[in-house]
Symmetry: C2
Subunit: 359 residues, 2 copies
Amino acid sequence: MIADCLAYLESKRASIVGALAAIAPASEEARDPIERVREFCGRGKMIRGSLVFLGAAACGGASAGVDLAGAAAAMELFQAGLLAHDDIMDRDETRRGAPTIHARYAAELRGSMAAGDSERVGPDDYAHVGEALGICLGDFCYFEAYAALSRAMAPSPRLGEALSLCSKVLGEVAVAQMADVRWGAGAVEPTEAQILAMYRGKTAHYSFSLPLAIGALCGEGAGLVGPFYEFGERLGILFQIRDDELGLFGPTAAIGKEQGSDLREGKKTLFRARLLAAAPDSERERLAALFGGGVEARPEDFAYIRAASERLGVARSIGEMARSAEAEALGILRSLAALGSEIRPVLEGLVDYVTRRDR
Amino acid sequence: MIADCLAYLESKRASIVGALAAIAPASEEARDPIERVREFCGRGKMIRGSLVFLGAAACGGASAGVDLAGAAAAMELFQAGLLAHDDIMDRDETRRGAPTIHARYAAELRGSMAAGDSERVGPDDYAHVGEALGICLGDFCYFEAYAALSRAMAPSPRLGEALSLCSKVLGEVAVAQMADVRWGAGAVEPTEAQILAMYRGKTAHYSFSLPLAIGALCGEGAGLVGPFYEFGERLGILFQIRDDELGLFGPTAAIGKEQGSDLREGKKTLFRARLLAAAPDSERERLAALFGGGVEARPEDFAYIRAASERLGVARSIGEMARSAEAEALGILRSLAALGSEIRPVLEGLVDYVTRRDR
């Protein structure tokens, strides 16, 4: 069923690429940023955009005149904007197998300076100017995303609702990202409830609930917005639990996640919180140091963390949480009696995919 | 007439403050960012928000159920987001008489670290974490702005048009800001046409055309959107010509503009472009050095620049451009036969204000 789901999502990719290609620059000056954004989006899996199609298909397709691919492109544009900004915050230099947006700007500037075009920027400023342009490009993506969604849904009486939902969920992402930045800086030790709220804001509502709900609003599926919102929340928790696992023990080849990357970044995951809470005093210090950030963990450290999580019941309790979320997600799907027989296995496959994916 | 205009704009301030105060945080975590944004907006003049009221008044007021103050608050939220990001790009530490958003975050972090709350952030990272939180807060402002506008105009059939217009104009701002960043870095020498396009994108359409047009869309004034767009473009050029003058020769007390600040920042103004173009070879080098950025100009340098701009006809040619723009702006107002007798002097006063303001 995972294969059904992935095949479905992959089948929508070309039309999202087409919708992005069809965005006309508003001016000659807008051509360069649009092309950068298209190129950046084109290197992604476009799962969020594809989920718009899935959400619409679940209610029988798009309403007359609504451009599903355009709405899907809007989701990818939001994502591009968030990633452009995230990579500046995290000082990441590569993303999707190529230089990040701001790193590429900085490299280009360095190149043009070397060619003698510059008057006054010293090498120390390349990085800053690259970041400044990356901030602008992220902003540009958001505005283009809203514009794309407004165009795509212009004939729909649900446009206002769709834009409100986007704004609500993206506001949550911004707030969750602030929490993540603060925690990463070690300024605050979050509670488990705060970590789960961050997972809902940064992943669940944004990556799953929103695109499915936008798809439903593109069709005659306003009644699905609520169930999709809940369904997406469960998917997000499942996704994040798996993400934490991959971030700790995942294969180096996994996209964006190397073994131990969460340790190096000092990420405040649910796994870490439960492990520290369950650890006896005699172990807490060693674990806190390993999870404190900046640590280059050795193989025996991973083995120790894994053994401790088994011994202290953390692996089991998080596994139970995942099984509950999975059951709830599947329960929501069962409650949707009107789902077509083509779409149901795709949605079920999605649950399976986020639970078991290995990258 | 300037006084009429300023009194009108000032009279709308309280209701915009009220609309901002009425925005409910979506979660406990959203309370802190909302409060920061309110505080930041509250220190501004709120001209853009007030222009929404003026635009609506020009067509007889808001349509039933449309919340003008909410739409005005949306304009102030967009502005707060742009300024939060601009100040990071420009490395500005103060704005509106207080620390900038990112500088305040950095200072708070420094404070909490001193209190011993930290695990791993060194002093070098304060600034970066402050900037990361500032980027998030700017993003948050944009999403709140779209949400506020969607709520305020929810009953209006013009909501989609209003959101599209916002997105179009804000996309222009982002593109213009990229140009400004590149030029500031000395990577490119812009042509006069590019400078004027930047003025239109960063100031004219955004600060004047957009809020007036949103006001018209909040009322029964869809026919005014076009004229207001053109009117705002002329106002923006006037505003920017005056801004360049204040940035060079302005009084130190002027808000955000000290004498010579544009020289220090190496800003690529229209004034600079025309002066360098008109200068004989024997003077171009001295002028280029003064305008090249990083220069702490002496009183005799300002006297020299002023004299050169008179002698080379630059003061005159820019003065003529301003007079044309002023005449065109007033001509657009004359063509709007239906403007009420209360609103016409306010709009005329606005032309006067942006042309002659001394801060």
